[in-house]
Structure formats: C-alpha cells, structure tokens
Symmetry: C2
Subunit: 606 residues, 2 copies
C-alpha cells in the first residue's frame, strides 16, 4: 500500500475532477503529439519500400508523399464536420454506433483498440530508435529501453495527468520548431550548395530486387499513410476546448494539419535531396539532421525532441484506450470493472491492460519499428472509414441546412479512406496486416459474448412486477467442529441467536479425540446436539459435504447455514500453521445453492 | 481431480491400513537398500580423495576401507541394543528426545531431515551415474534424468507402497548376487592372472597435487563413511518384523552388516587390484564390472541392479521423512498439516515436500554425486552420535540387568561416531559440510518458533474451568448493496430471520443509480432501512469499512453481521466479468474482530 501511494500518489476526490479548459495553443500541444510524431518514421517507411526497386526509385517518394498530403486534406475537411456535429466527442465507436448500428460500432471499436496498442508500440519503438541513432551504444538494449519507457508512461498515467497541458506544450513546440529549423537550414544549404555533414553511405548501394511496379508504389503509399494516424484525436476531445468549443477545435485541427503536412513533405524532400537511404541502426531523420547540422547541439535537440514527442504520442493512447474501454463497459461489451475510476480519477484497469499488451508487442517484434508498421494503419483507416460512412448515413437521415454539401465532403472522405484501407490491407497483408484482420472478428466475438453474458445475468436477477419474495424458509444451522475451544464456544453462542434447528457436527477421524470432545461438549455445548459423522476415508471435507447435501435433499425448500468457527492468527505467515480446512470448506460450499456461509472469527492476539 | 485419481489411485479406507509383517528375508530387502546401495559410490569417493596424492596413494584405500568396516561393526553392535530397547521403533529423534531432552531430540531431528533430503539426492544422482556409465550418450541429460527419477518415486509414494515387500526383494537380491558374482569372478581372474576387459585409462595419469598427509587420509575416511548411511534403518522398523520382532530384527541387521562389509571391502580390493582410477563419466563400479565381465549381459546386469537399488534407497527416504515430519507435527514442532494422512494412507504433504527439496538439491548441484557427498554423512553421523549418547544416558538412569556391559557397547558407539562426526565435519567443512552445519541451528530455531506459536494458540483458545460463555450480545446486521435485484431480495429475506437491527447500506457513487435504487427499495426493501454512505474518493470498499468500524466503535460489546448478497456465475471464467467487490470485502473483513460474515449466494443458471 505504501509503495502504491509513493508510486501513484494520494487519492483524489471526485470533486477534484475539474476539467481544464484548453486554449488553442495548449490544445494543439495536447492533442497533436500522435499525429505530428508520425513524421519521425513515415518518410523512412516509404523509402524502405521504394529502395527495393533500387536507389533510382527513391525519387518516387515525392509523389507518394504528395498523395498522402492530399488524403490528409480530405481527412481534415471530413473531421471538421464531425467536430461540429459531435461537440461532446465523436470517436469512431460513437459515430459508427449511433449512425450505422451496433455491429459497425463494435467493428470500429475493435479496430481502435488494436490501433491504440499499436500506437504505443510503434511510437515507443520509434522514440527509442531516435535515442539509439544519437547514442549508438544503446542500440543493443533497445528492447529493454522500450519496455522501460512503457512502464514509465503507465506509471505517469496511473498518477493521472491533470497537469497535462503545460507538460505537453514544451516538447511539442520544441519539436515543431527544431524540425522547421532543420528544414529551413537544409533548404538554404541546398540553394547555397554547401553542407557541413557527410552522409555515412551504406557499405554497398542496395541492388534493385524488384521493379518499380504499381504494387510497390501502393505499398510505399500504405507505409506512408502511418503519417496520418492521430489526425482524428482532436475530434474526440472537443469538450476540452475553451468556448466556442467546436470552432476552436476546428481551427486547431486545421492548424495541426498544416504543420503536419509541412513537416512531412519537408522531411521527404530533404531525404531525397541528400540521397538518404534507410539504415537499420540510424533513422532517416537522424541522418538528415546529422547532414544539416553536422552533429552538435541542434542535432541532439532534434533527436531529443523527436524522442519526447513520440513518447507523448504513446502517452495519448493511455488517455484514449481506457476511455474507449469504459464506454464499451458501460454498454456491457467489456467487463464492468473497466468503468471503475481509481484513486487518482483515472481508469486504472484500462491503463494497466494497455501497458501489458503493448509490452507484449514490443517483445514479440523485438522493439523494431519497421516490423510493427505493417500491422499499424489498417485499424486506424478502418475506423476512419466507419466514422466517415457513419457521417454520410447521418446526413442522409437527418438532413439539416447544407446537408448535401456536408454529405459530399464526408462521402469523399469515406470513399478515400475506404480505398486507402483496402490498399493498406492488401499490400501489407502478408507482411503483418493479416494479424490485425484475423484479430478483428475475434475481438468482436469477444465483445458480443460479454454482452450476451451480462444480458443473461440481468434477465436472471432483475426484479419483475410479479416477483414475490419467497416465504420464510426453514433453516438448519450446522457448526462443523474438530474439538472444543473458545472459538467454537463463540460460534455456538452466535448461532443460537438465530431461530432454527442448530447442531454441531464432528467427523470421527480419531476415536480418542472424539471421545474427549464429547465429554467437553457436555459441559460447553449449551444444549446444542453434537452429531458424529463416520468417515471411512479420513476425509473431513468429504464427510461434511455429504452431510450437507443430505440435509439439502431432505428439505428442498430449506436453507442450510454453515457457521464456521475460524481461528485467525495474529500474523499472516502463521496461517500456514493452521489447517486450511476452513478455507477449503468455504471454497467448496460457495458453489452450493441454498447454503449460507457464516464466518465467526476468533482473533488470536499473539 | 480425475488426473489425481489416475496418478494416485482410488482412496483407501482407514481399515485397509493392515500392517504387513515381514519375514527376515523380505525385511532385509525392504530396509537395507539405503545401506547396501552406498557401496555403489563409497569406494569411488575414497579414491577421488586419495588420487590427489598421486596414483601410488591409491593403496591407502585398503586400510581406510578396513577402518570404516571397523566402525560398521561398532555401529551394528550399538544399534542391536537400540532394537531390543525400542521395539516400537527407535529413531534418533525418539531416542535422543526421551533420554537427553527436547534440544537433543530436535538437533537429531534436524540432522535427520537434512539427511533424508540428501539420501534422495545422492542416491538418485548415483543411480543415474550407473545408467550413464552404461549408456554414455545419456550423460549430457543426467540432471533431467535425476529429476524424472525423483518425480517417479514421488508418484509411486503418493500411491502408497503397501505391496512393498515383494517389489523390493527382487532388485535387492539381484544386486547382492550380481556384485558378489563380480567379486568372485574378479578374484578368480586375479589368481589365474587373466582378465577379458581392458581398462580405459585416463588421458593422463593424474599428478599428485598434495602429499599423502594424515588430513588427506581422514578426508578419504570421511568420504568412505557414506558407506555406513542407512545402517540404522532397521532399528526404526522393528515393529514390521514377524514375532519375536526384536530378535528377528537384530539377526537381520547383523546379516545386512556382513553383506555390506563384504561388498564394500570387495569392491575396494578389486578397484585397487585393477588400478581403477575415478573418472568423471564412468563410475568405479562400472569400470570394475567392464574389466571383470568385458561388457555383455553381466556388465549390464550390474549396472541395472545398481541403478535399481539406488532408486530404492531414495525411495526409503520417502517412508522415513514423512513419518519423522508427522512425529514432529504431533509434538507441534512442524505444521500440523504434516499429520494428515491422504487418500492413500500416506503422509502426502511430507512426500511432496521431500520431493521438492531433493529436486532443488539436484538442480543446485547439477545432479553430480561428488558435489553432494561432502554435505552427506555429517547429518547421519550426528544423528548416530545422539542416538548412542541417548542410550548411554538411558543405561545410567535406568540400569537393569547387564547395564554396565550395555553402557560400554553404546559408549564405544557414541565415542566412535562422535569422533567420526568431528572428522567428517572438519575435513569436509570447506567442501560443503558448512552448509549443513549452518542449516542445523536454523532448522532447530524454526522448530522452536512453530512450537512456541502452537503453545500460544492453545493458551488463547483453551477452555478453562472459570471460562463463562459471554452473555448474548447485541447484533447489528448490515447488507451492503449496489442496486436492487433478486440476489439482494434473497439476502434481505435471509437477514430478517435473525433478531437484531437490520439495515441495507449503499455507497453513493453515481447519483442516478442511487436515486433509482431508492425508488426500487421502497417496493422491495421489506421495511428494512436503506442507509446511503457518502464517498468522496469513489472507493466503495473504504466507505463500507469506515461505516463498519464506526458501528464497532459505538457498541464495544456488539457484533456486526455483514450479509453479502453474492451473484455466482454458472461458469467459473465468468467470474472475471463480475465485480470482485464481494471477494475484496470478505478479505478485508476477515481480519476484523467482532465482524461476522454471512454469504447469501444467488446462483445463475446460465
């Protein structure tokens, strides 16, 4: 408990859950880390695919990047409409469920859950890659560093991130500023034709192993689409903005899209200009920064702020996942425990579960960003598509002023993201997307199974108008004993306070012990009869259970109350010195209908 | 449960515990495996020490072996007297405790417990060494094979070894016969000057690294003393003999000692005669057998029967250890659970614990006999010394016909084993005996701590003449609820059957839920008042506990009965879908004085 207090902090009152209202400047910092941080790896992932067709194919990275920026523009316009339509937060689960029905909602939710886990894994892996690019000696330990980072983020989130706005602002704006500086300096150097750094060329120029086919271009596009993950985050958090909330949120989102587009195309251009090739042990951004700044303060600033924003991106999932899980739990699609807010006003269960799953992914994929990327984006784009399709349906049903125009915007969004989803799923299928596609139906089935269970429980325990309380039933009280002592006397004393047929029961294992107990019982039994049970197999448990079953059979409407005199030691470790019979008996009886267990404790003082 | 039945067998009735009475021939087989099997490694351990002084020092193995046989003669005479004096079984614990007091008894018991664990580990390791000598390809897997053998022995013992006599007879007599045959053929070959086998010489003749000092001779003697482990076993089992029990037991023990002495000196002689040197991958007995028989049927018979008798020796500890543990538990020096006879009339807890500890030893020492030997024998000889010293005290106190003569015999025994103990402990101290010497006081302290606890418990729960049952106390019944459903209605219904102040208690976490519950309560509450608790930290548990503590404080003589309506799912895995609050509440309340827990179950059907 003390350890928990130290790690997690003192509990917070419900009344302390004041919602910080964010200015546009702070909101951009809080909500954009997921989207902006993806520029740290998106260009690299495009190059990794194109280089398969040889170094000359690298030039295709520019049109591919432009196509992605086109998609970004469509997405921004579409989500702008969701912001105005769902000012209380329009996650894909809510939009899909409210417009397209439960199945669509659950599909979007399943896709989102996978996406949240992958965001943590990919962001942390890329963040640690930024670190190991700058400090190569840490490269061998990247898996351990990833796990450490996740544990850190989990702990911070269990404490609660109420002071979030200020914490997020500095690294986000440092990241944006330093990358912009790098782009400007890099472009200037290109114009002036000089550069302080020399690019570490790979040992051998990679040979083309494939032709530059349309399929390869589409694969490069799919990889690059990871740049768009997180664009939707602002639409989930509209209520956190200062009023007028929707308007401020929409402006912030457009601002974020512009920054994201600029950084992304800038990095792609510089990479092309310097002929940067992807390397296993150094990221593309690190290579560009080394080239532009030739090492030194600004290089390390780029690496440090990249790492920081990626860790913040991982952190953003720790807000999203538990909130989605609690929404699902409220609708009975997840265990109800996911709704419980812990001491620190956070959904602790969801945070811990997300931490565990993302650690699992890191271990399975050895903390390698490239290995995780093919799994990523499928889930994100699937949820985009469901959101947009939901909006299309909404305009069709609801109408309202200018609904045709809005329908067209979201329609374009739905078609574009739908096509992107198909492209991503098909070009990345064999590289890992199949895992996500196979998991989706399993998760949905799991949601439905949980729902079915809760519905069945409700039907069984709900009080209907015609439900009448049962008439008072006969009650037989039995007190299992193995000797006579103060604990037993106390239990008998307590049991006599309730009307009913009371008897003590002893299993005859040792004749001497039994005879002794009978003598003592005459003095201390208060007139309660003592029944001896025969036990050919020396099993106290079995004899008692058989006796209780007998009583239940004889009186099919009666209750059997088992009063257990329990001696509780003063120190927990002393428990191993006492027969665990009381515990075993309780465990066995808990599953019997009409048996009521009553523990009468006798506490030892030493 | 089914698995257990298949592995362990059907339960046996207490009445089925008929004690098989053993003839001298069967008793020799049952009780001598521990003693006889040690000839499989004793000679080798002597040679391993002597070879440190070079190959010429090997000749010292004959006088060392003769000294050990002298000690064997003294031991046999001394134990013969214990047999007649303790016809119901005279283990070191009983003899030391009854004559020298509790501390001596506990010291002997601690030494014996260590000894039992080591007997299993050493015997199994040596048995597997016999196997890997014959099948060298298994050498790499010896650790796994040791563990497998222990698991097998544990399982056999959990089934119970009622049919023991017949099972033991064949391998024991085959072992005695085949070793005797080897000795005869070997001696004949020596006289005739021919031998079919050629000894695989070690790559290099080992150089002398030490002089043949007195210390080295004493160390060799210490190692050889492992041959005497198990000599005392017959004295523990006198009651299993056919009448006249003590006489038959004494004759059997003398017969066993003669066979043991013959096999041991014979193997030492043959090893010397053939110039056998200890090798890591082949035992000395295997080398001799290969030399004498030149491989073939008789060689494999020797190896197989050696392995068998060593496994039987390990098995004998599984009879001794649990019996000693149950004796100690009866005297409250071990947890009382050690007294419980399982389904198959064996002390299952002791068997499992011995298995676990011996597996631990095998893993720690990589299944290597030589590494384990220095730990062995210290415990055995310490218990020998305590037994003999106890007998000396007994004759002094008790007298009786010919007590002077008996005193002298046991006196010689006590002095001889005492000196041997000191020699073993000092010469082997650095090689591992220190572990045993350090463990002894810890185990004794543990015995005393357990004893002190049981005494304290007895003092607190025992009923004294002046103990009067307390007057009937006031009882407040509370029913914690989080809503109204059939389970709650059932609990209220049950609670109303007992006189007392009844109230339902709800923690106000969610205002809507609370209001709904209040409305329903008006209809279903049967007039029981519903009390709402305020919870600033949303912690249902904490609010409930505070409320209960309040009630306890207000009425220092009253009882608080907590009636918990518990919904029990139809399938165990569904438990994760229900709030674990009931379980947590029960765990928290179990440790409160004057709080009585009552579980009213509501079983779901699907």
């Amino acid at each position: 408990m003390l350890l928990k207090r130290w790690l997690v902090g003192l509990p917070l009152k419900t009344a302390q859950a004041v919602h910080e209202r964010l200015s546009k400047r702070l909101a951009l910092a809080v909500f954009s880390s997921d989207a902006l941080s993806s520029v740290a790896y998106a260009t690299e992932e495009i190059l990794l695919v194109l280089v398969l067709a040889g170094t000359t194919a690298i030039s295709a990275s520019i049109p591919v990047s432009l196509a992605i920026i086109g998609l970004l523009a469509i997405l921004t316009m579409s989500y702008r409409q969701i912001i105005f339509e769902y000012p209380n937060g329009g996650g894909a689960y809510i939009v899909a469920k409210s417009n397209l029905g439960d199945w669509a909602g659950l599909t979007a939710a399943a896709a989102l859950m996978i996406d949240y886990v992958l965001t943590v894994a990919v962001s942390v892996a890329a963040g640690i890659a930024a670190l190991t690019s700058a400090v190569p000696s840490l490269f061998a330990h990247r898996e351990a560093l990833c796990l450490l980072a996740i544990i850190l983020v989990v702990m911070v989130n269990l404490r609660g991130v109420r002071e979030s706005g200020k914490i997020f602002a500095t690294p986000t704006y440092v990241f944006i500023g330093s990358i912009l500086l790098m782009l400007l300096v890099g472009l200037a150097q290109f114009v002036l034709g000089q550069s302080p750094g020399t690019l570490a060329q790979p040992a051998a120029t990679p040979a083309a192993v494939e032709g530059l086919t349309v399929f390869l271009l589409l694969r490069a596009f799919s990889s690059g689409c990871t740049a768009l993950t997180g664009v939707e985050v602002i639409s989930n958090g509209v209520s956190a903005f200062k009023p007028p909330e929707p308007k401020n949120a929409a402006i912030t989102m457009i601002g974020m899209a512009v920054i994201l587009g600029t950084l992304f195309i800038g990095i792609s251009l510089l990479a092309y200009q310097y002929g940067v090739l992807p390397r296993e042990d150094e990221t593309v951004v690190s290579q560009i920064a080394r080239q532009v700044f030739g090492g030194g303060f600004f290089y390390y600033l780029i690496q440090a702020s990249t790492m920081m924003i990626l860790i913040l991106a991982a952190n953003s999932s720790f807000a999203g996942f538990p909130r989605l899980a609690s929404l699902l739990a409220k609708d009975s699609y997840m265990p109800h425990q996911m709704q419980i807010m812990g001491d620190r006003l956070v959904f602790s269960n969801g945070i811990v579960i997300l931490g565990l799953f993302s650690c699992l992914l890191i271990v399975l994929f050895n903390g390698d960003t490239h290995a995780l990327i093919p799994l990523y984006a499928v889930g994100v784009f699937l949820s985009f598509t469901f959101s947009q399709a939901g909006m299309v349906k909404r305009w069709l049903v609801k109408g309202g002023p200018g609904w045709r125009q809005k329908l067209i915007v979201n329609g374009i969004g739905a078609v574009a993201t739908g096509i992107a989803t198909i492209i991503i799923a098909s070009t990345k299928f064999l590289h890992g997307a199949w895992i996500v596609i196979a998991l989706l139906p399993l998760i949905i089935m799991w949601f439905r199974a949980i729902h079915a269970h809760y519905v069945a429980v409700h039907e069984q325990v709900a009080l209907t108008r015609d439900h009448r309380p049962p008439p008072p039933r006969r009650n037989t009280v039995i007190i299992p004993i193995s000797g006579v002592n103060r604990a037993v006397v106390r239990a008998v004393d307590y049991a006599r306070g309730r009307a009913g047929d009371i008897r003590a029961v002893m299993v005859n294992v040792d004749k001497e012990e039994t005879a002794l107990t009978q003598i003592k019982w005459a003095q201390w039994g208060c007139g309660v009869p003592l029944i001896l049970l025969h036990s050919p197999y020396r099993s106290v448990m079995r004899s008692l259970l058989e006796y209780i079953e007998d009583l239940l059979d004889k009186d099919p409407d009666g209750w059997v109350t088992v009063v257990i005199p329990e001696i509780l030691p003063a120190k927990w470790w002393q428990n191993i010195l006492h027969n665990q019979r009381a515990l075993m008996l309780k465990a066995a009886l808990l599953f019997k209908e009409r048996v009521i267990l009553t523990d009468v404790p006798f506490h030892l003082e030493r």
